[in-house]
């Protein structure tokens, strides 16, 4: 048993129907290795939830299960349920392709499409969905680039290649790309880990602004970032959910010994 029983605080907003996306006894495997051992978690709507934990705790796998990307890895298996607005996205009637548009993802290392211009990167998802009207494309590109706080820096260079941007700009481009298809949830896998503090600050600024329209789940190993940016925090360890509560509660009043040890830096 790990340092005491699981302690999930019954915060008010978790019980209310406002949980945009939730997991129910979610288990995930890589071949023989079980990475997620049964996670039940509810992510509140229009809030930022941070998922924290030491390396190998399963936090990245968790979010990859939320938009059904995990199953694309060879020999990966998922059991349990993920509920988007109450509907299990793993049920056979649900088309994973359609779901993935509703749950966007920003990856750890910025991965703009190198053969596309900045504009084409931003509207890539829209074109996939069949949007052809250039007026719509233009305005959506501007809208999403603005939301990602990148518009002013690239508005004159939209036709240039996406790879000429700095690391931070590329990541914001990836955020814009994810935003353009109007997802409901945005998953971010340590989006700032490869960026300098200034670039990080810009992205954190955009995250706080974005939560008005989206539900954001961000994986981070940077506790200060979690404290700055998130409303709720989940702490994971070795594939299990140890604690979930408002960020201030988790940091100031951790209920589990394990959480406290992690927060105070006794292990990483």
């Amino acid at each position: 048993m790990l340092g005491g029983a699981l302690k999930i605080s019954k915060h008010k907003s978790l019980d209310s129907p406002g949980a945009k996306i939730a997991t129910k006894d979610l288990k995930a495997n890589f071949g023989k290795m079980q990475v997620l051992k049964g996670i039940t978690l509810r992510f509140p709507e229009n809030k930022v939830t941070a998922i924290m934990g030491p390396s190998g705790c399963g936090k990245t796998t968790l979010i990859r299960c939320l938009n059904r990307i995990h199953e694309l890895t060879p020999n990966a298996k998922v059991e349990g349920e993920v509920l988007l607005d109450g509907v299990n996205i793993y049920s056979p009637q649900v088309d994973p392709v359609a779901i993935r548009r509703r749950i966007g993802m920003v990856f750890q290392k910025a991965n703009p499409f190198p053969t596309m211009s900045i504009f084409d990167n931003a509207v890539a998802g829209l074109k996939l969905a069949g949007v052809r009207n250039s007026e719509t494309l233009n305005s959506m590109a501007e809208k999403s680039l603005r939301m990602a706080f990148l518009w002013d820096e690239v508005k004159d260079d939209l036709k240039k290649s996406g790879t000429n941007l700095s690391g931070g700009q590329q990541q914001r481009l990836c955020i814009a790309r994810a935003l353009a298809v109007e997802p409901e949830v945005i998953l971010m896998d340590e989006p700032c880990s490869a960026l300098d503090p200034i670039a990080t600050a810009k992205i954190e600024e955009s995250i706080v602004a974005l939560k008005k329209e989206f539900t954001i789940i961000i994986v981070t190993h940077n506790m200060q970032q979690a404290a700055r940016v998130s409303d709720f925090t989940a702490f994971m360890y070795l594939g299990q959910l140890i604690e979930f509560d408002t960020t201030s509660e988790v940091f100031e009043n951790p209920k589990s010994e394990l959480t406290e040890k992690y927060i105070t830096g006794k292990f990483g």
Partner: protein
């Protein structure tokens, strides 16, 4: 505010295209494999009846007389490929070492590039080159000329494989050796012999397999012969030339022998290919016959 109003479901058209492309890609795989099955099947079925001890050891006879064989061709092929190896292994390995260990020098870049270009070169032209160089000057077709022509084909392959497998050796090994005071030439040779051994062997096997299957370069260098070779400086038979001549001869008995020779050749090449796969396991980009 602008809204894209994307449909909740994926359009049927996109799903159809996805399924269609999967089918098309599958068809491509079938189309690629079917000829192989047909060829190997035909070679085995048509060539097997021709095989016999006599077939493998006798000299050719006239069309209507039975008991003819491809003995000289088997001997000739092995002799010339052997000659080719004798020439191409030292030069190829040497060049390969140079490409890997002195990779920054300009000579290395240029030569390495030329080497890659030579790998895919029309072998007919290489044969012509050796004809001008050797056959015209010695005034005769010979196994020697044939061997030299084959070596021109084998050297780039060996150089390439050697250089690639040496490049895989971590720099730390070289540095450790030199730090111990071992002179560079000894370091290089040691690394080549021990760690790169697999790569060398692979390269030689690939080159041999390639050379055994070549016809064009032998047309005007070794020509052909109906007797066993007694000297390296006389026209010499080879499996590939026999297959070519018999195939276009129009005589049914010779055509059967052509299939038999083809079967033998394929068996040898399959064995070599297998050896290559065994020596280097799963590193697929090195175990390619053609590259």
């Amino acid at each position: 505010m602008t809204k894209a109003n994307l449909p909740a479901r994926i359009s049927l058209w996109r799903k159809i295209v996805d399924k269609l492309m999967t089918i098309l890609v599958l068809i491509a795989v079938v189309l690629a494999i079917v000829p192989l099955i047909l060829i190997l099947g035909d070679v085995f079925m048509k060539g097997a009846p021709a095989l016999s001890i006599g077939f493998l050891t006798n000299v050719p006879t006239a069309q209507n007389i039975s008991g003819g064989g491809i003995g000289p061709a088997i001997q000739g092929s092995f002799i010339m490929v052997g000659l080719g190896a004798l020439i191409s292994v030292p030069i190829g390995v040497g060049a390969g070492i140079f490409f890997s260990e002195w990779s920054t020098s300009k000579l290395s870049t240029i030569s390495g590039f030329m080497n890659d270009v030579l790998t895919g070169f029309p072998t007919m032209v290489l044969g012509l080159f050796v004809f001008i160089l050797i056959v015209l000057t010695t005034k005769e077709y010979s196994a020697f000329a044939g061997g030299v022509a084959l070596s021109l084909i084998m050297t780039p392959i060996i150089a390439r494989t050697t250089s690639e497998s040496l490049k895989l050796v971590p720099t730390s090994l070289r540095e450790a050796s030199m730090a111990l005071g071992i002179p560079r030439w000894k370091t290089v040779l040691r690394i080549v012999l021990s760690t790169g051994k697999n790569g060398l062997l692979t390269g030689v096997l690939l080159a041999v397999a390639r050379a055994m299957g070549e016809t064009a370069p032998l047309l005007f260098t070794a020509a052909t012969s109906v007797i066993f070779a007694k000297s390296l400086f006389l026209p010499t038979a080879s499996l590939t030339i026999y297959i070519y001549n018999y195939a276009i001869s129009g005589a049914p008995s010779l055509v059967t022998q052509a299939w038999g020779a083809a079967l033998l050749l394929i068996l040898v090449l399959l064995a070599l290919n297998l050896l290559v796969k065994l020596t280097i396991g799963r590193n697929s980009s090195k175990a390619r016959m053609e590259m």
